[in-house]
């Protein structure tokens, strides 16, 4: 019999880890971050021959170097967070909404419509109208995939993805319609003369609190969604449907209704992110208003395990890496791909650490290996 070929213990064995404490799991994450910095440091030295510590310092300065940069970083964190929080209800239901891009765009278009056509309103009223209208637009964009999934069990990933392209086409059309100046193929900064429809500064006396309202709106939504998913009846329904549709039916939950309602909600929050991006940040609209953040938010939501508070941290990390990457690219005049390699390495290690939190890896015992040799 072919005994000697197979007669050994496998070199690596992977088994599930039980009962890991929170401190231990954060320690693993921290360790992986350190490891990531070391590895990318080696990569930096090898490829571009720059002192890696300088590179890291540059990254930090790119995100937090000046008070203006800090506020831009915070603004971008808030927009990304808002989208991620919007995905949370759908994802908790195992409804893979990859249509945030489209939902952001229609929310943004709705905001611009208000800015352009609802003239002469007091700021507070206008802002409230913009919030409602952008959320409605996003809700409609979320409603359709939810409705079709509920009634005909269509694939929500494909459906929401396709809805993105519709939204992009509509945006192109609107950009052509609102083109300013003509021939520029952009909308330009809307109402730049009177800042009508711009989210105001939180306190006029403190000039640097430019994006204070963004923070307040997004943090409110973050807390609200957390409470909604955790403590409300509808949140409970979402968790049950996400775990097992049959159990939900058994418990008397009207699954179709939950699908539609939750997707409308998810779309509405992403639509609100569109409002935040337009009225609270860029004050313009283009097909790149969403800028892929609808997809980045999927990573944020997954890394945060759909916990909206953890999403704050993850969004901050991703925006920080992004800002840092473009800063080193411009400061050292290196190819942007190099900086993407660095962020890639860091994300890879962070994602990889989740594996080591869930599982432990055991190598073959030295003694056993020795016996094997002596045979």
């Amino acid at each position: 019999m072919a005994k000697s070929e197979t007669a050994h213990e496998p070199l690596i064995r992977i088994s599930k880890r039980e009962g890991i404490t929170r401190t231990q799991s954060w320690l693993i994450r921290l360790l992986s971050l350190l490891l990531a910095l070391i590895v990318s440091g080696i990569v930096i030295v090898c490829i571009v021959r720059i002192n890696p510590f300088k590179v890291y310092a540059t990254m930090a300065s790119g995100a937090f170097g000046t008070s203006k940069r800090i506020w831009v970083t915070i603004r971008d964190i808030m927009t990304l967070l808002c989208i991620s929080v919007g995905l949370a209800p759908a994802f908790a239901m195992k409804f893979w909404n990859v249509g945030a891009e489209g939902q952001i765009l229609v929310g943004g278009i709705a905001t611009v419509v208000c800015m352009k056509y609802f003239t002469g309103l007091p700021t507070v009223l206008l802002v409230l109208i913009m919030i409602v209208v952008s959320m409605l637009a996003g809700a409609v964009w979320g409603f359709f995939p939810g409705f079709f999934k509920a009634h005909w069990n269509t694939n929500e990933t494909l459906f929401t993805l396709m809805m993105n392209y519709i939204a992009i086409q509509i945006t192109s059309y609107m950009v052509a319609l609102w083109e300013n100046p003509p021939g520029s193929n952009t909308v330009g900064v809307i109402n730049s003369n009177n800042e009508y429809g711009w989210l105001p500064s939180l306190f006029h006396d403190i000039p640097n609190l430019d994006f204070g309202w963004n923070v307040i709106i997004v943090m409110t939504v973050t807390v609200a969604v957390y409470v909604y998913l955790r403590y409300s009846k509808q949140g409970y329904e979402i968790s049950v449907v996400g775990d097992s549709v049959n159990t939900a039916r058994y418990a008397g939950i009207r699954v179709k209704k939950v699908y539609i309602r939750t997707m409308a909600l998810s779309g509405a929050i992403c639509g609100l992110a569109g409002f935040v991006a337009v009225s609270g940040a860029s004050h313009t609209i283009s097909t790149s208003t969403a800028g892929g953040r609808g997809f980045t938010a999927i990573i944020v939501a997954w890394l945060a395990k759909f916990n909206t508070f953890t999403m704050i941290l993850i969004s901050a990390l991703i925006v920080f890496l992004d800002k840092g990457a473009s800063q080193i690219a411009s400061k050292y005049g290196i190819n942007e791909y190099v900086s993407h390699i660095i962020t890639g390495i860091i994300l890879f290690f962070l994602l990889g650490s989740e594996f080591f939190i869930g599982y432990k890896v055991k190598f073959r015992h030295k003694a056993a290996a020795g016996q094997e040799v002596s045979k």
Binding site: G19, Y231, K233, D243, S244, T247
Partner: protein, 509 residues
């Protein structure tokens, strides 16, 4: 005297999963050409032990000898090298392939697939041991028993001399079991060594030469079947004498509670799953429902619970002293809203009865989440209930927030049954309430059901073990192919008669 040759010897084999020790220094001997029963309650480590023999798990400690030589089995492929073939509870077959294609699957990729030669060899094996198999039949056209036969043929085709059967009779009718046992005896005559895992003591007594007993991961001992008795084996299994009798008091004031008339249900593909089913469930009585797996039991209970579409017929609920109402067309929420206290323990515990990712509290809420007014859920009362069930039913869990998915099967069932009984039902339906549970937990469930019966609840018990059905229930509805083939009194009918009814199918008129 001839020395005994051992096909398998396991010495001090230990396997741990995290903090749980599934097998603790277990010894096991399988003689060449014998049938050995491996007996033990659920969670006693039988399947884990066999998985180490078939290369699915690798032991943490201990030695395994095959035909006297020490070996190391690191993968199922290794197991085949040593002539070990395992037939799992859940078949590992590709539905859209034929029997012959499944047999050849995963083998020697270098050779050209010679369909004829494989079919011929399969037929040859079938003829030698008395299997009934068609090599060109697709898997999805096969019955459960045919699939199992194919799994055995597959093992033999690959040259297995040592066969492990993990609870092979759980899915078979009495007649099919007899057939399987005949085949096993033929294989034994041919010099094959067989290990059979089973819960059913009568089968142990019937088929095996020796019986090895495990209890809570430890090896208790091995006895000659001819030298032992079911009572002695039960004692070894559970560690102390337990009575095998189920207490069955007479029904109290039975009156019709649930009347099902001419119920017919079709599945998605338009196949009749229930065909003109008529019976009455009385209060204060346990109504058993017997039948081969897949005879319409699941559809029947789900139709009553409002989860399965009804084609025609009526389901009438007659509450005490109130007007009767027809349940057809109501979904579970409508049933609940009309004030009918119906409890249902479905067959698929984690897929329908419970939310696996939630703890006991979250699962208690499945029944009560809509009760309070307002936007937010009430977690306090469900939490109290969870604690009460935890204590009263001795659920083994680290806490009420620990995901029920990670509990053992028996504890999962305690959570489910506990919740359903706690809602003080007037109709309690259970599907395979004790499937996969050990003897002690099973008795806990039987007692709980009998308590409910004495409280005047109409209990419907879908079961698979005929001995239990006949000992626990008052009346028995026998289903066959979606039809009622008989309604009998459990106190007077014999097991053989029920077995016969289970296969008595009326052709369409």
């Amino acid at each position: 005297m001839e020395t005994i040759k051992y096909a398998v010897q396991m010495r001090n084999v230990t396997k741990r999963f995290g903090s749980v020790t599934a097998n603790d220094r277990v010894n096991l001997d399988l003689k060449q050409g014998e049938i050995l029963s491996l007996l033990g309650e659920n969670g006693s480590g039988k399947t884990t032990l066999m998985n180490m023999l078939s290369g699915i798990y690798f032991p943490d400690e201990g030695h395994i000898f095959i035909n006297g030589e020490e070996v190391s089995i690191a993968s199922p492929k290794d197991a085949y090298t040593y002539g070990i073939g395992m037939i799992h509870q859940h078949f590992k077959l590709v539905d859209v392939f034929t029997a012959a294609e499944n047999v050849i699957l995963g083998q020697d990729e270098t050779e050209k697939f010679d369909r004829k030669a494989v079919s011929a060899k399969v037929r040859d094996i079938a003829a030698r041991y008395g299997f009934d198999i068609d090599p060109d039949k697709k898997i999805y056209e096969m019955s459960v028993s045919q699939k199992q036969t194919l799994e055995i043929v597959k093992a033999l085709y690959r040259g297995a001399d040592i066969l492990i059967l993990d609870e092979p009779t759980a899915v078979l009718t009495p007649q099919e079991t007899d057939k399987l046992f005949a085949v096993m005896r033929n294989m034994k005559k041919d010099g094959k060594s067989i290990i059979i895992i089973t819960h059913k003591l009568n089968e142990v007594m019937e088929i095996s030469d020796r019986v090895a007993v495990l209890r809570k991961g430890e090896y208790i001992g091995c006895v000659e079947t001819s030298q032992t008795s079911p009572q002695a084996l039960t004692d070894m299994m559970v560690g102390r004498a337990t009575t095998l009798d189920i207490n069955r008091p007479d029904p109290v004031n039975p009156e019709p509670r649930l009347t099902v008339e001419h119920l017919t249900c079709l599945d998605k593909d338009g196949v009749k799953r229930l065909d003109d089913v008529t019976f009455t469930a009385n209060s204060g009585e346990i109504l058993g429902i017997a039948g081969i797996a897949g005879s319409g039991q699941k559809e029947l209970l789900e139709a009553i619970a409002g989860l399965y579409p009804v084609q025609s017929g009526s389901i009438t609920y007659s509450p005490k002293g109130k007007e009767a109402m027809n349940l057809v067309g109501m979904d579970p929420m409508a049933i609940k809203k009309s004030g009918i206290a119906m409890s249902f323990v479905p067959e698929d515990r984690l897929g329908m009865g419970l939310v696996g990712s939630m703890g006991m509290t979250g699962n208690m809420m499945l029944r009560s989440w809509r009760k309070n007014k307002g936007f937010f859920v009430n977690r306090k009362d469900p939490n109290e209930l969870a604690k009460q069930i935890w204590k009263e039913l001795e659920v083994v869990t680290p806490g009420t927030e620990f995901p029920v998915r990670r509990l053992s099967g028996g504890n999962v069932q305690k959570v489910l049954v506990g919740r359903e009984i706690a809602s003080s039902p007037s109709v309690l339906m259970t599907a395979y309430a004790v499937r996969g549970l050990d003897i002690n937990t099973s008795y806990t469930i039987y007692n709980l059901l009998t308590d409910q019966k004495m409280k005047g609840v109409a209990v419907v018990y879908v079961g698979e073990d005929l001995d239990v059905l006949l000992a626990l229930c008052d009346r028995l509805v026998v289903l066959c192919g979606g039809q009622v083939s008989g309604i009998v009194d459990c106190r007077t009918i014999t097991k053989e008669e029920v077995g016969l009814l289970m296969t008595k199918y009326r052709k369409e008129a």
